[in-house]
Amino acid sequence: MDGTLAIAANNLTSPIILFFILGVAAAFARSDLSIPEAIAKGLSIYLLFAIGFKGGVSVADHGIDTTLVLSLLAGMVLSFLLPVLAFALLRGMTRLSTIDAAAVAGHYGSISIVTFVAATSVATSAGLNPEGYMVAVAAVMEAPAILSALWIVARFGKQSADMEEGLIREILLNGSIVLLVGAFVIGWITGDEGMQMIAPFIQAPFQGVLCLFLLDMGLIAGRGLREARSVLTPGLFAFGVIMPVLGAGFGLGTGMLLGLSPGGVLLFMTLAASASYIAVPAAMRVALPEANPSIYLTLSLGITFPFNLTLGIPIYLAVANALAGG
């Protein structure tokens, strides 16, 4: 486990993490440092474009694994089930109302793509070579958790969720999913030839862009934490740390059952451990307007995201290496 500590220490002093911390610190100090909204969206488009494409090219290179379809299915099932676990945990550990607990639960079944990207970086520097289609698994895990959360409200809540027809289409076709899957498919079709054309755009500058993006995430997370201190009870805080670890456990089991490589297992753990902060919040505003956004945003962006980024991923890596490796 010595290696783990080294990796964790190394991870903590990588520019990526340090720029996140800079963002949080600037927000706490009430600096007016900010990334314009259009630039932040541009950075996120770049990241989705790049990782989708790389994933597709990697599938083109290594051929389709027989486990691809199974992994997609497993991801979907996890995304459906994790919210139930999260909901049970929240009802036990906190005093959130049904609506708030269901809304939070939905976030933890879904995924955070930046956490996924960070884990991919760590995997690559650790010499692992995760299955390229994990990007597609990430995409299919975005949405099912939302339906789960709405089902929980319908089942346990007094109020009903606003499940109009438009919503499901909107969730499935949300911009991030379409771009990620689209870039993945294009990478798959064009393979190495396509990669050669655009590699200088999506590979060399990638880590630098990621630093800027994490600076922005730090600013947002910091501002959120500063303003939502009041909602953050010890119970909620504990949930924000325990739930990702439990999720990672389920991801571990699934990844090992599927027989993925250590890198793939690490990514599955990370997906299960991470919580959405874009797609699910937007859906919750529409379908569960009564749920308090500062609770779910603070938990997802202010607690679980930094936890995974700093401590979670190195731990998941150590475990994946120990159990799925060599």
Binding site: S34, P36, A40, K41, I278, P281, P293
Partner: protein, 103 residues
């Protein structure tokens, strides 16, 4: 210059609800409106700002509709059905317009 009485209705609503609101307006045969961006705000649900936002979950927009006075009530009914459970503000102002045939 000849002007005509009209009402201007401003609806401040979450960006995620914009499409639903404008669909409801179209259904109520209100086909003229303008959407203004909103930078930041404060209300009973706290303060927010658009800076550094990545998703659409947080922002709001201002939808302005100018209508003939007799069309205000159907407009408000349609708007209210959408904003009812949501945060946001609906206000109505008396105004005068040029080119009344357009409304």
């Amino acid at each position: 210059m000849q002007t005509h009485k009209a009402k201007r209705v401003d609806i401040i609503i979450e960006a995620v609800m914009e499409k639903r609101l404008t669909n409801a307006l179209h259904k109520a045969e209100v086909t003229g409106y303008t959407v203004l961006p909103v930078l930041a705000g404060s209300g009973r649900s706290g303060q927010w700002t658009r800076e550094g936002e990545i998703g659409r979950a947080g922002g709001m927009v201002n939808v302005s509709c100018i209508v003939r006075p007799e069309r205000v009530d159907p407009l408000l009914d349609a708007a209210f059905a959408v904003v009812e459970r949501h945060i946001g503000v609906v206000s109505v102002v008396d105004c005068e317009v040029l080119r009344a045939e357009r409304f």
